[in-house]
């Protein structure tokens, strides 16, 4: 009965025209903020937060939820259409999404991304509704040792997402690690590669580095080839995949959603790691691993189901314990607290309608972006037909504006330009942006937690295997690295025996 109340107590809110308008408006805003590289959900939510002061607490929450959920989905649009992920969590989406678009399948790619996002999103909310307290306790068990294991999992993926040469992929990963080292070390406070500059002391920011490596690199690359590349003028076929294809992909979506929800629930891991981990796992265990990266719908689906499922996951520690899983949920906590509501078990008892509103709001926001995405897919896909001499300058401007807006400093624009040029040159010698960014994102997580774990254990290395969770993660790591090789052996042996 109580659980039922948690699901339905807020249902009445959604019958209000104003609430619905805020939900759709928030989702649209989120889609815009998510799709434009450099504009982030965090930024959008912070800008619109004061607006919610004038709304009822549930309406304010729905509006902010719309921005959050919408932007998590729409990062995929720019990744697919122009090969520039709108948000870090859409990096993996671009691998196959853009490859599909280049084949003239932009509409379909958006269709797949939208459906996978919607299913992933709903899966995440379902887990949130039914397993939040249990999952929250598991997530709290995560200490530095376990974070080290998760980061290792991500790093081992570098090898798989480097299409082409694995060695070059690893070199790219190291470039990313080096870039991530710039700035003041959290553990010791020591400034590294800072050269007496306060900007460098603050470290390189995620957004300018990512937009530089993906966005500008792409712009430079297109500029070079513009003269001898014909604009693809294909008819946009059906957007919705066939039911049989969908059925074939559904186990994959489920696995990705599971990975996404779980990684999302671990504080500070987030959608970017979730989608890359899911993509890496799917590629590693797929029978058609070679198709990944060349426009396989599987790749789009794997990444998008995971990063949207991570949203539901992020709500788990937020609602049960008041721990923000990512910067966006930090703002949602702030919005709750301004209204005198502290997230945590008490909120479930005192304001079941608010909990219900968050659950249902998530579901309705997913529905909103699914409709907007599927209806809009044909129109979005036309962006592919815009000639480069209109599109490239526009992208260039957005990259600069976005990088500036993240902290309102010109320094970040220089970082953007530097990373763009570096990315372009590296691409020339076969080192792609993805492993660089992966190294950049995961490096600090791995380093800080590794050192933190050793501080806590007093320098005892067995701490990584004496904790059950950490051991389990290391075993999973070993399985992912060695599993496919063993599988291949087994299959070969099976074949030999049949002969």
């Amino acid at each position: 009965m109580e659980a039922f109340e948690l699901l339905t107590a807020g249902l009445g809110n959604f019958a209000q025209p104003l609430t619905l308008a805020l939900l759709i408006g928030g989702s649209l805003l989120g889609i815009v903020f998510g799709a434009i590289p450099g504009l982030t959900a965090t930024m959008g939510m912070a800008i619109f937060l004061p607006l919610t002061f004038a709304m009822s607490d549930t309406n304010g929450m729905i509006f902010l939820l719309g921005i959050y959920v919408g932007s998590c989905y729409s990062g995929s649009l720019s990744a697919i259409l122009v090969n520039i992920p709108g948000t870090p969590s859409a990096i993996a989406t671009g691998f196959d999404g853009h490859a599909m678009a280049k084949k003239g399948l932009a509409g379909q790619a958006i269709g797949y991304a939208t459906l996978a996002s919607a299913l992933g999103g709903l899966f995440g909310v379902a887990v949130l509704m039914f397993a939040a307290p249990v999952l929250a306790d598991v997530a709290l068990e995560f200490s530095a040792q376990e974070y080290t294991g998760v980061a290792l999992l991500g790093i081992s993926i570098v090898a798989y997402i480097s299409f082409g040469s694995t060695i070059k992929g690893l070199i790219g990963g190291v470039v990313g690690l080096l870039l991530a080292m710039v700035g003041q070390d959290v553990i010791s406070g020591y400034p590294r590669f800072v050269f007496g500059s306060k900007d460098l002391q603050a470290g390189l920011q995620m957004i300018p580095v990512m937009v530089g490596f993906f966005g500008l690199t792409e712009v430079f690359d297109k500029l070079e080839r513009e003269s001898h590349i014909a604009v693809i003028q294909t008819k946009i076929g059906r957007v919705l995949p066939s039911l049989s294809k969908l059925a074939k992909l559904s186990p994959m979506m489920l696995v990705s959603s599971l990975i996404g929800t779980f990684i999302g629930a671990v504080p500070a891991a987030g959608g970017a790691i979730a989608s890359m981990a899911a993509y890496g796992v799917q590629k590693r265990f797929s029978r058609h691993a070679e198709k990944f990266g060349s426009g396989a719908p599987e790749g789009v689906v794997a990444a998008e189901a995971a990063n949207n499922a991570a949203v539901g996951g992020a709500f788990v520690p937020m609602l049960s314990l008041g721990i923000p899983g990512d910067p966006q949920t930090a703002i949602l906590i702030g919005a709750l607290m301004i209204n005198g509501l502290a997230p945590g078990p008490m909120l479930f008892a005192t304001r079941p309608d608010m909990i219900s509103t968050i659950y249902l709001g998530n579901v309705f926001c997913v529905a909103a972006f699914a409709v907007i995405g599927l209806v809009g897919a044909r129109y979005f896909a036309r962006l592919m037909h815009v000639p480069g001499h209109y599109l490239l300058p526009a992208i260039f401007i957005f990259c600069i504006v976005g990088s500036y807006a993240i902290r309102n400093t010109l320094f970040d624009v220089w970082v953007l330009l530097g990373c763009g040029v570096l990315g372009y040159l590296l691409q020339k010698i076969g080192i792609m942006p993805a492993p660089v960014i992966l190294g950049f994102v995961l490096g600090p997580i791995l380093e800080d937690n590794f050192r933190r774990a050793l501080i806590m254990s007093g320098g005892d290395w067995t701490t990584f295997v004496s904790r059950p969770l950490s051991l389990a993660l290391l075993v999973i790591n070993a399985f992912i690295i060695l599993g496919p090789i063993l599988l291949k052996r087994l299959r070969l042996r099976g074949l030999n025996q049949e002969d």
């Binding site: 912070a46 002061f53 068990e141 400034p191 306060k198 721990i323 301004i338 997230p343």
Partner: protein, 324 residues
């Protein structure tokens, strides 16, 4: 005749209007006549950002011009401080710099010194509080200290990063109480609170606001607050002094302007901030949100600022974190 009289009335009216306007606000007839920017050196969503957004929304009503919050995070607030110090001292660019900027004077490789900006008003947080994981047996500060004394280095204390305020204060606490912690640095209070709630570390010195949800969830509990007297909002939390450790840990922010901003503009802004604070609307938000910030006037915050600066310098030197 009529015409002349009308003209006379008109002139008289004009004169009266002019007199009223000029006597009411002689020097500030025009301030502010365009939007004001408030530089916040923190990311959106944190408690500092939240305080600024609440105050800015109300200051706009008082001043009649928008007050735009601009986030410029990085380098222990030095990125934002630099932008503020470089801004024109005309009252249209303000900053939100507190004790972190005071610390960064000594730890930053390219510091913005405190004499490059002046304080308008103080935004005072409750002093830091010692929190422990709820499963730990210590019921009060004396027990905690006794355990720490008997087991040097056994207590793992989480801090928000090397050179961050709670790192300095907790090290100072260890010195005053005669104990030894194993310091475990995290990146900010969010991750360190999660580690405390999960029981991976034992203690933490943190503001009450961000810890509130976890206190309510029964994951962590406050042992003592580092203030002179018990905080009116939290009368149940004893002070550290009561528990036998004579230490205070002021945690303040301030709204500042570049040095050279005219005194009458500073006064006008201080008045606006004071008014914004005193509205029931803001008071309710401050209370509900658990931000618990309080207003302090220009003279008060200037005094607190210079006191803090000297104390912080000694703490930074003791930890060997000095860069310049």
């Amino acid at each position: 005749m009529m015409k002349v009289r009308a003209k006379g009335w008109f002139l008289l009216g004009l004169l009266l209007t002019a007199m009223v306007t000029f006597t009411a606000a002689p020097a500030l007839a025009k301030f502010p006549d365009k939007p004001i920017t408030l530089i916040v050196p923190w990311s959106p969503g944190g408690s500092g950002d939240m305080s600024c957004r609440i105050l800015a929304a109300q200051m706009e009503k008082v001043l009649g011009q928008p007050v735009v919050v601009m986030n410029m995070p990085g380098a222990g607030s030095m990125v934002g401080a630099k932008a503020l110090a470089d801004a024109k001292p005309d009252g249209y660019t303000l900053g939100f710099l507190g004790i972190s900027a005071t610390i960064a004077q000594y730890t930053s490789v390219a510091p913005v010194l405190m004499d490059q900006y002046v304080a308008i008003s103080g935004v005072i947080n409750p002093e830091l509080c010692l929190m422990v994981n709820d499963k730990k047996p210590w019921q009060g500060l004396p027990e905690f200290v006794a355990f720490a004394k008997a087991n040097p280095g056994q207590i793992k204390n989480a801090n928000a990063g090397a050179g961050v305020i709670d790192h300095l204060y907790s090290s100072e606490f260890a010195k005053v109480a005669g104990v030894e912690f194993t310091q475990v640095p995290y990146q900010g209070w969010g991750p360190s609170l999660a580690a405390l709630a999960g029981g991976h570390v034992d203690s933490m010195f943190v503001a009450i606001g961000p810890a509130k949800p976890m206190i309510k969830a029964g994951k962590i509990r406050p042992l003592a607050i580092a203030s002179e007297k018990r905080h009116p909002h939290y009368p149940d939390i004893p002070t550290m002094k009561e528990g036998g450790v004579d230490i205070v840990m002021p945690f303040w922010e301030s709204i500042v302007a570049p040095v050279g901003t005219p005194a009458e503009i500073i006064d006008a802004l201080d008045e606006a901030i004071k008014q914004a604070f005193s509205t029931p609307e803001v008071q309710k938000k401050i209370k509900d949100s658990g931000l618990d910030i309080a207003y302090m006037n220009t003279a008060g915050i200037e005094k607190l600022r210079s006191e803090s600066s000297n104390k912080v310098k000694a703490m930074v030197e003791a930890l060997g974190l000095t860069r310049k």
